[in-house]
Symmetry: C2
Subunit: 291 residues, 2 copies
């Protein structure tokens, strides 16, 4: 292998994740919480099953205690050895030892849904955020549902700005959602959730259009993707995963004003049912051609 090949192989394997990273699992919201629900059972399994120690981060919730205790109970019912939740009421709490200690001993980290803005304001750029990255780099699975899924990426949607009205069920208009920095566990990927249920292709594309080369992932309710360190994505759950690949995308994003409808062309579209695999490096579904 020439040096150039080596370099291009390294580049090819880099974009969708960090080096030495554990699995990352964004979930589309409204996941089945009863035993038998595939998404949460898979999470607990990858966190260590009966040896799992799960740190639940309910910071997006308007009632973190209820959400935190509810999920902790749920994870114990699903077989985890231990489950606790992170107390963060102000930003200083997210730089404090108590929070970090909980994350340091966790074998699985789960970020619940609610308000993206609360998650960003209280956690992004704190030691909790950095600790989540380090634990994931050590191999610990990090999952998040709904708002908790958005924040896993480097680039996240943090709610509609009201330009062009509600961002659900709407055409792709420039500036229709706020875009801010997330935890950065996934690079070159933008995630949206409640995807088919709330008609969010337009808003996903509105962000996607601005950055050629992104992978847009639309997650339906009770549906998730599990992304491993090799860059393989697996679809999980009862609905579909939508993937839009922007490597060959051309758009008029930088010629449009805020609120104007965007034109976006040349993207590749894939939808995946439960169990299907997708290679994020070459950006192809795996195993379908041979059927």
């Amino acid at each position: 292998m020439s040096e150039e090949d080596g370099l291009s192989a390294a580049v090819a394997s880099a974009p969708s994740r960090r080096v030495s990273q554990g699995p990352v699992m964004p979930i589309g919201g409204a996941e089945e919480t009863k035993p038998g629900g595939e998404v949460l059972e898979r999470f607990v399994d990858l966190a260590g099953g009966e040896n799992a120690r799960i740190a639940n981060i309910p910071t997006a919730s308007d009632d973190p205690q209820r959400s935190g205790e509810g999920y902790a109970k749920l994870f114990r019912e699903l077989g985890a050895k231990k489950a606790d939740w992170l107390r963060v009421e102000q930003r200083a709490d997210a730089n404090a030892e108590e929070a970090l200690a909980l994350l340091r001993e966790a074998t699985g980290i789960y970020i619940t849904g609610g308000d993206q803005a609360r998650l960003v304001r209280l956690l992004v750029g704190t030691l909790v955020g950095e600790c989540i990255r380090m634990r994931n780099a050590d191999g610990v699975i990090v999952a998040g549902t709904s708002a908790g899924a958005s924040i896993l990426s480097a680039l996240m949607m943090a709610g509609g700005t009201g330009i062009g009205g509600d961002s659900n069920g709407a055409a792709a208009r420039k500036g229709m959602v706020d875009v801010v920095a997330g935890f950065g566990l996934l690079q070159d990927i933008i995630v949206d959730q409640h995807f088919s249920q709330r008609g969010r292709m337009g808003r996903l594309l509105s962000v996607f259009a601005g950055t050629p080369g992104l992978v847009g992932i639309g997650l339906d309710e009770d549906t998730a993707v599990l992304i491993d360190r090799e860059g393989t994505l697996e679809a999980l759950g009862s609905n579909m995963v939508t993937i839009v690949d922007g490597r060959d995308t051309i758009s008029d994003y930088f010629d449009r004003q805020n609120g104007e409808v965007l034109t976006i062309t040349g993207s590749s579209l894939h939808v995946l049912a439960d169990g299907r695999l997708f290679d994020l490096d070459v950006r192809r579904a795996i195993g379908l051609e041979t059927q």
Copy 2:
């Protein structure tokens, strides 16, 4: 040019329309009816403007008289010389001279929204259907909104079957909508409407997945496409047009059972704002690359 080139050029120009066809304009529903509404003004203009004689087909409506008279009044307000509506209460009416006479003298034909099933039951396969095709072949514009847009194609969705629940805001499941024959003014195209607003990517893909090579067109509300005899599509209106090109699509449609989520890969996705052009032969947006 070799004979082979000639043949392949002819084949390349054939799939999306009939020979010598007038413009066809599927509309996504909820079009602006006030003066200044781009979609209807463009229709009246292409029907001849102040010389336009418009035949309005309100058969999908549960109150055809109200819908028929309402649109006729509207088209006159928008400047048409004459506008009347087609009386079809039973299938025999759609084979009768009165209905055919109205269509024969029309310079524009407009099919209103309502229940797809009523349109199919009363009109497909009748002399009215054949007359619409012939008038369009003679160059007369044929437009349809919502249910009236669906029926313009050879292949149309005629409502959900209830498999997997509501077909709005849902994952692509095999058999989630009924597919029947429409008027056939557009070939190799399947149209859905109220597209972003009702989250219908899943249901469009559920049909699209079964037939490699289709073009799926999702029309938002107050948004239309105007397809001319050269195979050029123009987006019109205040929201977006979604185009999914299936030439390179692979799906597991024939391996799935009714109600199961489909996997569909390798499709091309385009969304177009007002005024954008798309070439249905080569399946590319026109004019965007050079910006």
